[in-house]
Structures are given as C-alpha cells and as structure tokens.
C-alpha cells in the first residue's frame, strides 16, 4: 500500500530449536503482511506463541526474517545503505513491556534518554540537554529527573522514561509492545493518554501490541489478530473489538472480561489449550479449540476471506463457495 511508512510482505521467521533431542523448526511468524500509515495506530492482538514479539523484533530490524521483507518508506530494509539504516534507527523507536529491564541501572536517566541522539551528528551538548528536558516534561516528569538513576523511580515512572527516550529523536514510528500490561490500573490510563497525546503531537504511526482487546480498542485504528504465527483476522478496531468474525477473536472478546457484573454471557467462550508453536495443528491452526469446526477445518488451512465487518478473516465459515453449497 502506498503511503505506508513501515510495511511487511510475506514476513516469516523460522527458528531452529532443539526439542526432545531433535532439531526442529519453530515457525514463529508465517506469511504476515503489515501496512502502517503515518498518524494511524495498528493494533496487533494475540496470546502466547502467536508470534507478536518476534514480529515486533523483525519490524525493528533486531532480527532478520527467513522469508519476506520489511519496507521502510518504500525501501527494502534488507539492503539499506548505512545512511538509510541510521535514518531508520532515528525514525523507528520501541517501547517494551518491562520497565525494569528497559533502563540500564548504571546510567543516569538523562544519559539513557539521550542515547538515541548519540548517532545524530552535529548536536551540541546544550541541544541534547534541552531535548532531554523537553521530553521529560512531555511525559509528565521533571527536567531535573535527568540527573537521577532508574532505581529511584517507580514502575510507572520508568515506563514514562522509556517513552521519553523513544521520542527523543523525533521518530515517525513507535513500536509499543504491551507498554502498560505490567502497570497498575490507575497508571495505565495515564500512560495510554500520554501515548495518544504524543502521537497527535508528533504525527506518529504506532504499532500497539497487546493481548487486551479493550486497550487495543482505545489505542488502535486498525487491528490484526495473530494465532500461532499467522494473521487470522484483520479489520478496523471497532469491527474487531465489537463484531469479530473469526472464532478465535470471538473467544478473545469473550475472555476480555468487562468491569460489569451484569455483562451478558458470551456466546462463544474460549475452550481448549493453546497448541505449542513447535507442533501446530494441521489445517486451520485453531481447529483443535474451535466449537464451530467442521471436517474441512481439520485438513485445509483457510485463506483470508472477506468478513462481514469489512475486513478479512481466515475461517472456512466465511467461504462464499461453501455457503453456496449449503
């Protein structure tokens, strides 16, 4: 899609692992297409083993794909010149889930935040200091906090420092991997608001990875749902979070417990265990847990079909040919 600032086509990553004494292939990510437009947020939803963390690393160029390509501003990332690579590094910044692991305990906060600026030539020390103070204030901390060490801050404050660092180089894309999952409820709202405000102010494109549909609904414009390394549904956030088509997404929605004791019982509650990515089921990867499965699901992997909500879902039930047969 033109205009996409960050995109991926047919992205795949296979890990060779030793399991039960044998060398096996772990298909962490298979055949993923992504398009991120400036100013929009793409939500990536999934649980353990769905490949969202690996996908995040591939998009950040922390890892190379086994198949497929990542494109930045139309250019293939596998063959970027050093200059273009530097530009990528400036423009695409991550925020990770664990605020205790994101900050080097031996560095002062100011140095941590200034690190993405260290590869930009021609910045004076004063300019760096000013920028550090600026972003600290933007995330609700004080400029003086730059002199302190990470262990003087709470988890929520550390996550703000991580966000300040992410925007220091004026990026164009933020990759957010479960940025609020480990925070208290009252802190989550604060950080989500900050992220939204920063996105508006800087015109950022965001990738927001989470397992919680409610948070994704709040943050994202478009959503893809991943299961065992594949995209199994995509659509607008409203569609996915209110009227999903894929039985797995419907199970996720059922499992997103609303804070309302009078909420109606979900019609398609989740069942079964998540299969190991080392041993994915044949046919439709979800068929082992799907209450709506029929014979075809066991053997044929469904391609993406058009879904009633306007997006796509990989489910045989949406196959128009099948419907015509019945």
């Amino acid at each position: 899609m033109s205009g996409a600032i960050l995109s991926a086509r047919g992205l795949g990553r296979v890990f060779k692992v030793k399991h039960n004494g044998r060398q096996q292939d772990l298909h962490a990510v298979t055949d993923v297409d992504i398009d991120l437009l400036p100013g929009r947020t793409l939500g990536i939803v999934g649980e353990s083993g769905c490949g969202k963390t690996t996908l995040n690393r591939l998009l950040l160029l922390l890892d190379s794909p086994t198949t497929g390509e990542v494109h930045f501003e139309g250019n293939a990332c596998a063959t970027l010149s050093p200059q273009a690579k530097r530009e990528f590094r400036r423009a695409v910044q991550p925020v990770f889930q664990n605020p205790f692991s994101s900050l080097d305990p031996r560095m002062r906060v100011g140095a941590i935040i200034a690190e993405p600026l260290s590869t930009i030539p021609g910045l004076t020390r004063k300019q760096v200091e000013d920028r550090v103070g600026e972003v600290l204030k933007a995330v609700g901390l004080r400029a003086e906090d730059a002199k302190r060490f990470p262990n003087e801050f709470s988890g929520g404050q550390r996550q703000r420092i991580a966000i300040a660092r992410a925007i220091a180089s004026r990026p164009r894309v933020l990759m957010l991997d479960e940025p609020v999952s480990s925070q208290d409820i009252s802190i989550r709202a604060q950080i989500l608001n900050i992220l939204k405000d920063l996105q508006d102010e800087y015109g950022l494109g965001c990738v927001f990875i989470s397992h919680d549909l409610a948070t994704v609904r709040f943050m994202a414009d478009d959503v893809i749902v991943m299961y065992l390394g594949r995209v199994i549904e995509r659509g607008s956030a409203e569609a996915i979070c209110t009227t999903p088509s894929h039985p797995y997404t419907r199970a996720l929605l059922a499992a997103a417990l609303p804070p309302d004791p009078d909420a109606p019982q979900p019609d398609l509650p989740p069942q079964g265990e998540i299969p190991s990515p080392l041993d994915p089921p044949p046919g439709c990867p979800y068929h082992t847990r799907c209450p709506l499965r029929f014979e075809r699901c066991d053997t044929v992997r469904p391609p993406m079909f058009h879904a009633p909500h306007g997006g796509m879902a990989a489910c045989h039930l949406l196959d128009p040919d099948l419907r015509n047969e019945h």
């Binding site: 709202a189 608001n193 939204k196």
Partner: protein
C-alpha cells in the same frame, strides 16, 4: 441476601506492622472483614494497597518481621487463628483453608511428578474410597485436565502455565477446603486460559460450597467471580459492598475514578479519565483521608481521617462525602 449465620472468617481490627513496636510502619491498618460460608469476596487494590499482605496474614504466611507486627483477631470457624501454634496452623492451612498463588511454581515442586504431589495431599485426607491412584485421577478430572492418567507421570515443567495452575487447584482442593484464598491466580495466564480457569473455579466452588477470597487488581475478574467486593487503598479498606453496588453505584471517589479509567471494548473516548499522581509508598501515606491528595472532591474536612459510613444495604465506605449519583449515566 446473606444468611445471618456467623461468618466463616471474621477479621477484626487486623494490622500488620513492619516490626513489633506499636509505632512501626503499618502495612495494613485496622482491617475488619468478614466472609460468609460459600461467599466469594473480591479484594481489589493497586500496588501498596496491602491486599497481598492481607491475604498472607490470613494464611499466617508473613515473613518473620511482619509476623511480629501482626495484631488483631482472625476468627476462623470460631477459633482465633492468630493464637495458633505453627503446628496447629499448618494443620489448618492446606486443609480447611487452602490457597492458590500467582505463580504455580511457587506451589509445585519441580522435582516430583504431578501424581506424586497429588497423592501426597490425598494421603492426608484419609476418608475416601478408591485407591490413591484412582483418587488422583479423579482430582485431575475435577479440574478438567484431559488425559489425566498420562498426566500423573508428568513433571510440572512439562505442562503449560494454565495446566499447572489447574494442578495447584486440584491439590488445593484435595482436602475440600471451606475457604480458598486465591492471590492473583490468573495474572500470569493468557486471557483465554484465564477465562476457562475462572469458570472452573466457579464451578468447583458451587460444587464444594466453599468460600473464596479472590485477591486481584483486575476489575473484570471481580465482576465475573465475586459476590462482594472490598476495595483497598494505602493499607485501608475504603469501600465494601455487594458487587453490583460497587460497580454501578460506587460510593468512594477512588473506586469511581478507578472504574472510569478502565478502557472497555465498546467505548472510544478521546482520552481516558485518570487519577492524578500515584498510590503513596508505605512510608509516606498522607494524613487524614489517604486518598485526598488525588481526589477530585477533596475538601478541608478530608484532612481528618474519615469514618466508615453506611451508604446502602451492606455497602460501606470510608469517606466524608460519598458519591450518590449512579455511575455510567453518561
């Protein structure tokens, strides 16, 4: 409504301090909480609220320094368990009062098989019919673990997190406890697995008629599981009441603000309402109402510690100016 029978568990004026002196820092202060037979009480709070300390004090599993600072009475089935010797408490714990913690590996021994650990629990409960093997399989079936016979030979690391938690559940329930204390039992599980585990707990509770104290930070879980809710903030109970009352007519400003700040799938506000600041650390709790520095309705009187006021049937709150309006009217 609830029966008028004496509560199964009655905590009266329980405090836990960081040390034995009367002026040591209190982690939780003057907690009074009652749980009736068969009732599920949700204990909600954020970091520093003291909810985990409360749970641990019930099980008498506090570290030695905090154990010295435990005061008040905890009456379980008529006996004050704060007065029990360690040996007597061990007999109660794991038997009549059982627990499930956040990390299943805190309760499971990685060296022994599941079958081994189950049977150990079953051996102590000497009533029943059937061999140990049969009863172990039945225990696994009761927590809906597929192929239970094969699973007996598994070690914990060979099972997924959700399975492990079910095994912990099975072990906890081998002695048919009357009170189950669950401290964030599903926080480390995937959401679809969490859902199934909660359904299982509900089902088991119905069948065994046991009471449950469900400690969590997740209001969705509370809404699904609990009959009554207790909200903690900075070491005190700030609100308590039936689940519908708490969610639809919260009386404390903290509860209301917290509920408002949770995103839901059906709403897309431009921004989420937030509570300014963050929960106070134990050493720096505000004087008077502990929430007043962050409260939208703080007034001069709030510098005085509020009394607990009645705001409805079985619904109390620790606030001078409880909310009257219904939530979610907008």
């Amino acid at each position: 409504m609830k029966t008028m029978a004496p509560p199964l568990l009655d905590m009266r004026n329980v405090s836990v301090r960081l040390g034995g002196n009367a002026d040591s820092l209190p982690l939780i202060e003057n907690i009074s909480l009652a749980i009736a037979e068969g009732e599920t009480v949700g204990l909600v709070g954020e970091s520093g609220s003291g909810k985990t300390t409360l749970g641990m004090s019930l099980m008498r599993l506090l570290p030695p320094l905090l154990e010295k600072g435990l005061s008040g009475e905890i009456i379980y089935a008529g006996r004050d368990i704060t007065a029990l010797s360690p040996a007597e408490m061990t007999a109660v714990r794991g038997g009549e009062i059982s627990m499930i913690l956040q990390d299943p590996m805190a309760s499971l021994n990685p060296i022994f098989t599941i079958g081994n650990q189950l049977k150990e629990g079953l051996r102590l409960h000497a009533t029943a019919r059937g061999t140990l093997e049969e009863r172990a399989i039945a225990a696994l079936e009761s927590v809906r673990i597929p192929s239970p016979e094969a699973r007996l030979a598994n070690h914990p690391h060979q099972m997924s997190g959700g399975m492990r938690q079910r095994v912990v559940g099975a072990i906890s329930l081998t002695r048919a406890p009357r009170l189950l204390i669950a401290d964030e039992p599903t926080t480390s599980l995937d959401v679809t697995i969490q859902y199934q585990f909660l359904e299982l707990l509900k089902d088991l509770q119905r069948r065994l008629g046991m009471a449950m104290l469900f400690i969590t930070h997740d209001f969705g879980v509370v809404a699904k599981m609990c009959d009554r809710v207790v909200v903690m903030y900075a070491g005190q109970i700030v609100e308590e009441g039936p689940v519908r009352e708490i969610f639809h007519r919260p009386a404390h400003w903290y509860t209301r603000a917290l509920l408002d700040s949770i995103p839901t799938v059906d709403r897309t506000p431009r921004r989420l309402p937030t509570i300014p600041g963050s929960p106070p650390p134990v050493a720096a709790r505000p004087a008077g109402c502990r929430f007043h520095p962050r409260c939208a309705n703080a007034q001069a009187k709030c510098l005085e510690s509020p009394k607990v006021l009645d705001v409805g049937a079985g619904h109390t709150t620790r606030c001078w100016f409880p909310l009257q309006a219904q939530r979610g009217a907008a």
